[in-house]
């Protein structure tokens, strides 16, 4: 999204630089609002359920941008996706930190952070050639598919009873 949104605004929305800034900002603003919502929600909703619903809501609006070329749809879709991201991260961090035995928690979280950020770095590297050679619709479809796959993996993991290590 970080690399693709400027290209999306450039290619689909008549080279609208203001819209590019708005689309990037609205996702981040939505995520901040989502984090504030999570402050309340994590006390009243089961964290597995909250994480599952929020992750699906983060992925699904991204497909809307492929369905409609309206800039309003893009703004609303990214705002919803951002809010859902802000809601889903805190319960998942809470579940994860509790899952890992305390004595290896720091080490495991550091390894996980490295893997996650590394994946983002390589995706950023790949996005340049992809955006250069493929239609933005194809690249955006891949982004939506990646986020949906991530949500599906989490939903599947959260549905299975998992023994404590």
């Amino acid at each position: 999204m970080t690399a693709a949104i400027p290209v999306l605004a450039f290619a689909t929305y008549d080279r609208n630089a203001k819209l590019a800034g708005l689309l990037l900002g609205i996702w981040g603003g939505g995520a901040m609002v989502g984090s504030m919502l999570a402050l309340r929600l994590v006390r009243s909703i089961d964290p597995y359920r909250l994480g599952t619903v929020a992750w699906m809501l983060q992925a699904l609006p991204l497909w809307g941008i492929l369905v409609s070329r309206s800039s309003v749809v893009a703004i609303v879709a990214l705002a919803l996706s951002g809010v859902a991201n802000g809601v889903r991260v805190p319960p998942i961090i809470g579940l994860t930190t509790r899952r890992i035995p305390r004595r290896i928690r720091g080490e495991t979280m550091t390894t996980a952070s490295s893997l996650v950020v590394g994946a983002g770095f390589f995706a950023l590297l790949a996005s340049g050639p992809a955006l250069d050679n493929l239609d933005i619709v194809v690249v955006w479809g891949a982004i939506a598919a990646l986020q949906t796959a991530a949500a599906a993996i989490f939903v599947r993991a959260a549905r299975q009873p998992i023994a404590t290590p």
């Binding site: 970080t2 690399a3 981040g28 603003g29 901040m32 984090s35 999570a38 402050l39 994590v42 006390r43 964290p47 992750w55 991204l62 802000g86 805190p90 961090i93 809470g94 579940l95 994860t96 930190t97 509790r98 899952r99 890992i100 035995p101 305390r102 004595r103 290896i104 928690r105 720091g106 080490e107 495991t108 979280m109 550091t110 390894t111 996980a112 952070s113 490295s114 893997l115 996650v116 950020v117 590394g118 994946a119 983002g120 770095f121 390589f122 995706a123 996005s127 891949a142 990646l146 986020q147 796959a149 991530a150 949500a151 993996i153 989490f154 993991a157 299975q160 998992i162 023994a163 290590p165």
Partner: protein, 231 residues
């Protein structure tokens, strides 16, 4: 829950150091462009920081295991502060070559993973194992972190225009010192280090992620999600 002093200290440390770092997100590329006039050199400096994360991230988890999350947080700030302050100091002294700047940028990327991992790990040490409380604290940390993502670059831009990039880097270095002092003064040393506890500790973070029925799919999902975010 939010009025616990160690948690408030952790949140303040995170907010202050994040604000400084996100000011530098604007100031460092600007500094490179001003001093070299080369976008290619700017991208090399930025890539050096990311390269450190990729090369050192997973190995740094062993260090976190050895010294514990609280001390890892302090060590990260103790690395970041001098590395960041050296850039303007060497620049003012006329001793900052481009290769040296790349090395300093690489060093600035080294603590990143250890800091992110330790910060998540230290929250349950402060609040106990209740998922709801830990999640609520993380929600607050995330909210302020995202606020810093908005305010930091904007503030960095204003300070950059008013005082120049070296001053912004000095402020960032000071923010790491403040963060270090807050963690040292207010976060108690309650953690159990890996050396105290066999045999799981010897399995290591990587092995746990690979074998655990929850961590394996979750880490894969997080990696895919981050890839979608960055692409």
């Amino acid at each position: 829950m939010l009025y616990r002093r160690p948690l408030l200290a952790l949140i303040a440390a995170e907010l202050i150091s994040s604000l400084g770092s996100l000011m530098t997100v604007v100031a460092l590329p600007w500094f490179v462009l001003e001093t070299t006039g080369s976008p290619v050199r700017m991208s090399i400096v930025l890539a050096a920081e990311s390269a450190a994360l990729l090369l050192v991230g997973i190995p740094s988890s062993r260090l976190v295991a050895r010294i514990g999350s609280r001390r890892a947080l302090m060590l990260c700030d103790a690395v970041w502060a001098p590395v960041t302050v050296l850039i303007p100091i060497l620049h003012f002294a006329g001793a900052l070559s481009f290769p040296l700047l790349v090395v300093l940028s690489f060093l600035a990327g080294v603590p990143w993973a250890a800091h992110a991992g330790s910060q998540s790990a230290v929250v349950p040490d402060l609040l106990g194992e209740d998922v709801g409380r830990v999640a609520q604290a993380n929600a607050l940390l995330q909210t302020l972190s995202r606020l810093a993502y908005f305010a930091g670059p904007a503030l960095g831009g204003v300070l950059l225009a008013a005082f120049g990039a070296p001053t912004v880097l000095l402020i960032d270095a000071a923010s790491f010192v403040v963060s270090l002092l807050l963690v040292a003064a207010f976060i108690p040393a309650t953690e159990q280090r890996a050396e105290d506890a066999a045999p799981l500790a010897t399995a290591g973070g990587w092995r746990f992620i690979r074998r655990d029925a929850w961590m394996r799919p979750l880490t894969a999902a997080q990696a895919l999600s981050q890839a979608a975010f960055m692409a």
